[in-house]
Symmetry: C2
Subunit: 318 residues, 2 copies
Amino acid sequence: MATKVSIGIDIGGTNSEFGIVNEAGKVLARGMINTPTKDNIKQFIEDLAKGIRQLMSQINDAEYAGIGIGAPNGNYYAGTIEHAPNLPFKGVVPFVELLKGQFPEMKKIVLTNDANAAALGEMIYGGAKGMKNFIMIAIGTGLGSGFVVNGELAYGSDGFAGELGHITVTAEGRECGCGQFGHLETYCSATGMVRTAFELLSHHNAKDSLLANKTFNQLTSKDIYDAAKQEDEIALTVFEITGDILGQALADAIHITSPQAIFLFGGPVAAGELLFKPIRESMESHLMPVFKNKVKLLPSQLRLGEAAILGASALVAK
Amino acid sequence: MATKVSIGIDIGGTNSEFGIVNEAGKVLARGMINTPTKDNIKQFIEDLAKGIRQLMSQINDAEYAGIGIGAPNGNYYAGTIEHAPNLPFKGVVPFVELLKGQFPEMKKIVLTNDANAAALGEMIYGGAKGMKNFIMIAIGTGLGSGFVVNGELAYGSDGFAGELGHITVTAEGRECGCGQFGHLETYCSATGMVRTAFELLSHHNAKDSLLANKTFNQLTSKDIYDAAKQEDEIALTVFEITGDILGQALADAIHITSPQAIFLFGGPVAAGELLFKPIRESMESHLMPVFKNKVKLLPSQLRLGEAAILGASALVAK
């Protein structure tokens, strides 16, 4: 009997990964190519197709449900990637249409933004199985989110819903990659944590901090985590501030969609209670009574290295 | 042939209104009783039932789809009114169950919070016909909201979704009726506008303002509107500030659910461009590019006096 599988593709700023996933959420084969640094979409699609065909040749007797794609600024309805600041492709790329040219035999080719894909991955393969209302928060270079409402992913009127990273947390605050100011992801993301560390270093003139010997371009959220484990004051304060702001934003989101749980995903989530504790405290302190002590704050159950592929494949596996 | 109708009930802090509505959204008959000031739910249910029976006797040959109820802190799933600060009933009131005792013949008796009901009213009888994703904002004593996502009202995991009035707009800001601080409705509501007026009067020591001769308990948002029409500086600034904060909150909501339109409803909305202009400017200024100049900001198409009944009836008319 044929094995039922689907293909997941995750388009990232540096690399693009892809894999073949079975119904149980096991990645049977996976591959990767570099995302080009120049706007040569035709070549990229051909390279991607070649890589995927190679994987397909490794799986015998497979029945394909289709291809799911997670991409920054992915438009679910149009199947396009639109003005993605971290990708080299300019304007509106008809990604699904281009991929259909390479895989005419596939029944379904569907695209959405990466955090929406991760939310579907959590719902189908992860910790949100059976949940009708939950929120997925993906903390990386930026902060992405996917909102599941009444058992369905919220795509909104234009396919772009779920941009919690761009709600305003400080009017006239930090400059955001999108051009506006004070947005959540300028504080609560790997990048935001580095910005907070540098703000704190300058504010406290903290020459003895473990973080004082790296350049702005060198410092990572992992460095901050390592310093926090060694009780570095600046690093610990970065986690406090990040958690405090994220907790307030999550409370906002709870007031709007009243989820059963919020899942956190991404590199900085590895810090565990160092991050979860201040988030939880701040979140609860901003909630109106009817929502208090009700919403679970959980780490994603998807493995970090596989989540993007699983999530993308979940788009067609459902 | 029997006329298909449904019954709508709006439970308010002062009065409770009810009406019989036909499929076209016409209120065929309506009535009102005082909401009691003491916690006597049994008597209230009996009085309400009596009033409704009286209306029913006026309509010949009607076929009833059921009874819909809009109430503050209404829980859609449980059919209960829970800890409503502006109602005399303590704790959790099994409102739907009590009403079923009075109307055993009704196929459906459904309850939700008043702003959710208004959203359904807008979708079925008003300006949101055919829209799959929109937000209803009801500005009154507080600020209520209803979110329609993928064509369905978002009730959330517990029946309480849609509390945009309680997102945090200023950390450590004004005290909110719910016990927390800095929530949207402490600024952007009829009450919030009065609070802003008094803050401005005190800040500017504005003895010559038209608003300087009313007590805190006397002043209404209508007074502020009247003063603004006469170019009173304080009153005009109240509208600027209210619009500025509400616009930022609406941008937050857009980033999350990406609606096609946002409908504003309630007394202060009568101020028209005086309120809409600062909201629109602030909203657009906080949006990431992909959402800019896309989301319609519209006045509700429901008549102010009928909206609550229409909305409630829409709960069962759908």
